[in-house]
Symmetry: C2
Subunit: 360 residues, 2 copies
């Protein structure tokens, strides 16, 4: 780290930071996940209670018995959500799902959340109450307590921070690292519906901007909108894995699509994988809607994001047991590292899996 | 909470939130702390592991042995810091101090932090590295691990979120609630220096805006600038209290001045207090600088903020022991609730203590 000059003179500056664009030639292009890995190197972990540090869904701290799992998520208006079409109650529900999913992605049980809300004078008390009501509704579904609430001022945008805390018996904790060759890659739920919902909302927003007197008609698309606006935390999956006595070998949340998730597990486990296109779980509604929108459904499932499902790898010996867990699909298997990350298409062609945030 | 209508139609809106100003007549004026208390009512705590919920410096979770203490802080550019004069390394150091101080304010030992940084393309990798280097420097001084790091995009401003986690034996944990009549009110360190530093920086910023070719001269004011830009976490105080076997009866961090801190303890404990103006610890430098700036030094100590010291109440029986703890001042004592919150001035006049964020 080097020395920290506490008495260095304070330099006033009007522009004290360079733009990323200006320096694009002089520095390597990092993806988000590469950058986090790179920056993490300056943070050595010394405390004996630190079990899992940077680079997984959540951090894990030993507490003389169960382990405490925690993860913090930040949501910024017009970066992570658009209040033109996102109701505040739904937004409150979703931010809890997103934060809690990181705990579930470690095979842990979420128990508490803390919430920080930064608002400008665009928002009144009723608006804040709507947001918190949505949060509480989601917390109730997964039996989580809101144990911290802080308010602050923002210049204009709504900024929401949620820290989720959970607990796990040490023997049940599952990180991204631990997948072995020939193990099965499982995912919960279905994919690309949330992305299709986003595309519909964004399309209708453009119509609305031209003619604000119209309101969109989403009839028949309820499932897609609900997947985008109010995804459910998959506590049921983590509970079912316990009930069936299945201990995944590696596990992670799926916030950014199947591709990023499988790459996280394979990288952390130093393995390759094969994922079968025809095994990707999509609803008929997502499939037909994406077709109408001229979007390749496989790309939407791999890279669309916002699904907040879980991915985990299991031993072949657990194949019979996993059939007892509803809403789980086996989409592929783990291979040797040199196999790379491959999608096997319907006509048996191998395609490299790619994901935003990774350098290829 | 009522039912949550998942299938409610999505309403598109250009302005979907009212301004606080427009409604100022129709709704009561809440201070920040009142508002948090009001909003907290919709969050019942059900999990048996929840020991302390909303309304203290940090939340506390029981983990079959030690208790896990956690607190999340959000820092927004131009709301909480000004990059015209705050170097990124100092900023990194300060945000860790602020977050960790909430853990210390529960008499707990900080052990881990997680960090989220949202940056726009105004910031390059070097800038992010500076920020993280400052964080790491502060973490090193208090032996804390950075166990989580997430990056995201902001539209323009730098937004930093720090979650601090700590641990405490249940018998050592001290909340804001627990002060009894005739107990002594203690504070660590000195006050108003950070506020004086802020005033100097803001004054010179105005000069700089008129004439950007000049650089300010802060010679002789180093201590004030350091208190504002790079405050130190008071781990030494929490360690000294353990060493001297002093268990405070109530305790809190002092982010917003002595007034807000004493009111938090008195409200939570349902007590009144008397604070002696002449006992407020100020350095000569802060005193003279504030005088030059035409600021009443007592007001700066009570309401200036940014000190990040600790306040705690102790039994009179611990009076001899507390003398062995360096950098602690006794500034007053706890009274019956009807006594209110009083400042006793040098000429023995009683003045009501007031603080921003509280309804009077």
């Amino acid at each position: 780290m080097g020395t920290f000059e506490t008495n260095a003179p304070i330099i006033f500056q009007t522009i004290n930071i360079h733009t990323m664009q200006d320096q694009s030639e002089s520095q390597p292009q990092f993806g988000k996940y590469d950058l986090i890995a790179e920056l993490s190197k300056c943070f050595p972990n010394d405390n004996s209670s630190t079990i899992v540090g940077i680079g997984d869904d959540a951090s894990v701290i030993d507490t003389d018995g169960n382990q405490t799992v925690s993860s913090t998520k930040v949501f910024i208006e017009d970066v992570h959500f658009d209040l033109t079409y996102v109701p505040l109650k739904h937004l409150g529900y979703k931010v809890i799902t997103v934060a809690v999913t990181d705990i579930l992605g470690m095979n842990a049980i979420p128990t508490q959340v803390t919430v920080n809300v930064a608002v400008s004078n665009r928002f009144d008390l009723k608006a804040v109450n709507e947001l918190l009501a949505g949060m509480e509704a989601c917390c109730e579904t997964v039996h989580v307590d809101v144990v911290g609430l802080d308010l602050s001022t923002s210049r204009k945008d709504l900024i929401i921070t949620v820290t989720a805390i959970g607990e796990c018996e040490p023997a049940r904790l599952v990180t991204r690292k631990g997948a072995s060759e020939n193990e099965l890659v499982c995912v919960s739920g279905d994919f690309a519906a949330a992305y299709a919902g986003l595309l519909l909302l964004e399309r209708e927003k453009k119509v609305f901007e031209v003619n604000p007197s119209t309101q969109p008609d989403f009839s028949g698309k309820d499932y897609l909108l609900r997947r985008q606006l109010m995804p459910e935390p998959r506590l049921d999956i983590v509970e079912a894995l316990r009930r069936e006595d299945i201990l995944p070998t590696a596990m992670c949340a799926i916030p950014d699509g199947i591709a990023a998730a499988i790459m996280q597990i394979c990288r952390a486990s130093d393995k390759g994988c094969a994922v079968f296109e025809e095994k990707l779980p999509l609803t008929e509604l997502a499939f037909t809607t994406l077709k109408d929108l001229d979007i390749v459904h496989t790309v939407a499932a791999l890279n669309g994001g916002d699904d907040y499902e879980l991915m985990f790898t299991i031993r072949q010996a657990d194949f019979e047991k996993i059939k007892n867990v509803e809403n789980v699909s086996i989409i592929g298997y783990i291979k040797e590292p040199s196999a790379g990350y491959k999608l096997i298409t319907g006509d048996n062609v191998q395609v490299d899996i790619q994901a935003q945030g990774f350098r290829n």
